[in-house]
């Protein structure tokens, strides 16, 4: 054999993959560190030059502006910027929770409708999905706010239902529940009912494992959770009453007012996100092999049992991860509320507070931190769900 034709193997510094990796990493780290150093250095120069204060001491100062909707007591003469932050955070969470519930309901219905054997329902669901997912969410929010809700009548000409719910261009006004003494018992009864349902569920599963007998758990659980607090409500002498809204002058006094900004945001977000959830539901149900359904049918199971015990458990494994991601998207999209002025964290903090204080870096970092925490929480939840739903091999 003649090896002399082969190229000489060089042992240079650059020819070993390990060395190359180290050199490349050191170089890239150096570039990143230098950039950060350059940016931070300039930032301090600029901040000093413009006379902007730094640090988070502004959080203790009085804010001095009004907020149209607040879940905690807020007062524009004494509340601080920290209060503003908390108000915004809570309002973001409020939009997120309501939006997620509504979007899930609509999405589930449309997703199932998309697979319906009824031609018309399937096509209507398809049209719904293709229409609303192809229109930017900001456009939908603005449309609801500036066109649909702005066209509602003035408070004096409100649309009213049963003289207790009013709809007008100032929002959606409904009775405010008043909790008198004794209403605590109802809460206790509700909690006790929930705990007993948990134990009941454990017992029912155990019995099913041992004897194979089914227990109508859902019906019984619903009955306990609804009836127990209701019973206590009447025993303690109906301690919950309601304050009804009434027209005084040009606007309504009393009751809970849902401001139109919140309505527009919730309509737009849930309708938009529902299209993605519907597609996830459809994909999940389609992912269950048809043989599973046929096998269950040949075992003699009833249709609703097949759906509950065979199709859904397998479909949910595919459905849940993308749906949770859509929940995160919904929360992130709620930041667009700033276009219509709904007081959530971006509007209040990156908008109003930034204009008053001018400390852009701290304020925007705090706003980003809020959403980062949301996404970390949601991805932890996702990991937990994935681990729980993993197919357990033996």
């Amino acid at each position: 054999m003649n090896n002399s034709k082969l190229p000489p193997t060089s042992k240079g510094l650059f020819n070993s993959p390990q060395n190359r990796a180290i050199i490349f990493q050191v170089l890239s780290l150096a570039v990143v560190v230098l950039c950060i150093f350059y940016f931070v250095n300039n930032m301090f120069d600029n901040v000093a030059k413009r006379g902007i204060t730094t640090g988070f001491s502004f959080l203790g100062e009085t804010a001095g502006f009004g907020i149209s909707q607040s879940l905690i007591p807020y007062d524009d003469t004494s509340s601080t910027f920290l209060d503003v932050f908390i108000v915004g955070l809570l309002n973001t969470i409020l939009v997120g929770v309501i939006g997620i519930v509504l979007a899930s309901i609509i999405g589930l219905m449309v997703g199932v409708g998309r697979l319906s054997s009824n031609y018309l329902v399937a096509k209507l669901s398809l049209v719904y999905i293709e229409t609303f997912r192809n229109i930017p969410i900001l456009l939908q929010i603005l449309f609801w706010y500036n066109v649909v809700l702005a066209a509602l009548p003035s408070p004096r000409q409100s649309i009213s239902y049963f003289d207790s719910i009013f709809i007008n261009n100032r929002g959606f006004i409904m009775p405010d529940p008043i909790f008198e003494s004794g209403s605590g018992f109802i809460l206790v009864a509700f909690l006790l009912a929930c705990i007993s349902v948990v134990f009941l569920a454990k017992w029912a599963t155990k019995r099913h494992d041992l004897t194979g007998e089914e227990f109508p758990l859902v019906k019984v659980a619903l009955a306990i959770i609804v009836l127990a607090p209701l019973l206590v409500f009447f025993i303690t002498g109906q301690p919950i009453s309601a304050e009804y809204p009434a027209l005084k002058g040009f606007n309504f006094k009393g009751g809970i007012t849902i401001i139109p900004e919140l309505l527009a945001l919730i309509f737009a977000l849930s309708i938009y996100t529902a299209t993605y959830i519907a597609e996830a539901v459809r994909a999940g149900i389609e992912a269950v092999p048809p043989g599973q359904k046929e096998a269950a049918k040949s075992l003699g199971l009833k249709d609703h049992v097949i759906l509950r015990k065979v199709v859904l458990p397998q479909a949910l494994r595919v459905i849940i991860p993308p749906v949770i991601n859509q929940y995160l998207n919904l929360v992130k999209n709620s930041s667009l509320a700033t276009a219509i002025g709904y007081p959530e964290v971006v509007t209040l903090f990156s908008g109003t507070t930034l204009n008053q204080v001018g400390q852009a870096i701290e304020i925007i970092l705090m706003t980003m931190a809020v959403y980062l925490v949301f996404s970390i929480v949601i991805s932890l939840l996702l990991n937990w769900v994935n681990a729980k739903m993993e197919i357990k091999g033996r």
């Binding site: 990796a21 350059y38 300039n42 031609y119 018309l120 209507l124 971006v346 925007i364």
Partner: protein, 359 residues
């Protein structure tokens, strides 16, 4: 010997073919199904005819706004303000320049993928953005138009196009960085960047780019408002593209990596010649999906004060002689976005089929 003749087949019973059968099977098979169908028909009856009346039959297509007597849409508003919706404040005499760019882009999108010569493809890909930029902004003997005059659909498409084109190489590098297990520091940097960007809403990144970014540079460096928005959008899109491409990279069988190494290819040769072409092909549907989201997300630039087509609705409505025409404006913009997004998703199916090399 008896002769057996075949009897002619009878036609299928009328209950298992034809329109009646189809209707019964698909719309009226059970009682709940029938109820759903009736509900659906009622829904269509209450929504579609009024919508058609408003949009077409009762609409006003010509004349001045004082002459409007019909109940329907007053499209005269859109016709009157059409130029502003398309070009923003771009000088009217120079509208031919964006138009030329649009024609060039159509030629680029439809003809370049069909060229066989890689060299011409490469050169045209390098030349195309430069030519477009000079045509729109001016320079080289053309009159310069400042970015504050850019607006309307032109700006929307420009922001989306720059976001897509500029984020693509960054996204590929980030994806490769995230996949490089033998370089933990690079991997950590990439993962940190991607997860940070994906964890926050685009609007906070745009605020960051428009308020904080100027503080990062020393005083001599001035950033245009549009440029700041473009930087924010590009970084944002790059993180999403990186995740899409990572999905494609993970789907490539390990044997392909090993084969490229055993052929003696270097890392970059292996990536560019073997791995990336396959990974990108797999990622096409998801890439187009993320382009569509970006196109929809360009509307957010109105919050930091740029005048994209959606912002033009509000702006043209503040013209005192044209108050109260929001609905027409919003519906027009909705139609435009819908047509763009829908055709992009259809185009992705075409591309997917063209690059499908499965047998």
């Amino acid at each position: 010997m008896a002769v057996y003749t075949m009897k002619e087949a009878k036609p299928a019973p009328s209950t298992s073919k034809g329109l009646v059968f189809w209707l019964r099977e698909n719309l009226f098979s059970t009682i709940p199904n029938t109820l759903l169908t009736l509900l659906g028909i009622y829904f269509i009856y209450t929504t579609v005819p009024p919508l058609l009346d408003w949009m077409i039959f009762d609409a006003t297509w010509s004349g001045t706004k004082e002459e409007v007597v019909k109940e329907g849409a007053r499209w005269i508003f859109i016709i009157e303000k059409f130029d502003q919706f398309m070009y923003g404040f771009y000088p009217e005499a120079l509208h031919w320049r964006p138009n030329l760019v649009a024609i060039l882009s159509i030629i680029f999108v439809f003809f370049i993928p069909r060229l066989s010569s890689i060299k011409i493809k490469f050169v045209s890909m390098l030349l195309y953005p430069v030519v477009c930029f000079i045509l729109i902004r001016g320079g080289l003997g053309l009159e310069v138009v400042g970015t504050e005059k850019w607006g309307g659909l032109m700006l929307t498409i420009l922001v989306a196009a720059v976001g897509i084109i500029a984020s693509f190489p960054i996204g590929i590098l980030l994806a490769l960085g995230r996949q490089s297990d033998n370089m933990p520091i690079v991997k950590t940097l990439c993962v940190g960047f991607i997860e940070f960007i994906r964890g926050v809403p685009l609007i906070t990144i745009l605020f960051m780019a428009s308020v904080v970014l100027p503080l990062f540079f020393s005083d001599g460096i001035e950033f245009d408002k549009l440029l700041r928005a473009l930087i924010g959008i590009t970084l944002f899109q790059a993180a999403y593209i990186a995740e899409v491409i990572r999905g494609g990279l993970q789907a490539i069988p390990k044997g392909q990596y090993e084969a490229s190494e055993s052929l003696g290819l270097t890392y970059w040769q292996g990536m560019i010649l073997i791995i990336l072409p396959q990974a990108l092909k797999i990622s096409i549907p998801n890439l187009v999906g993320s382009f569509i989201s970006l196109f929809k997300d360009t509307t957010l630039v109105l919050i930091i004060g740029l005048f994209d087509i959606l912002a033009m609705v509000t702006l043209t409505n503040s013209d005192t002689s044209w108050l109260g025409f929001e609905i027409e404006g919003y519906v027009f913009v909705t139609l435009i976005y819908w047509v763009f997004c829908f055709s992009m998703s259809q185009y992705s199916r075409v591309i997917e089929r063209r690059y499908n090399t499965d047998h």
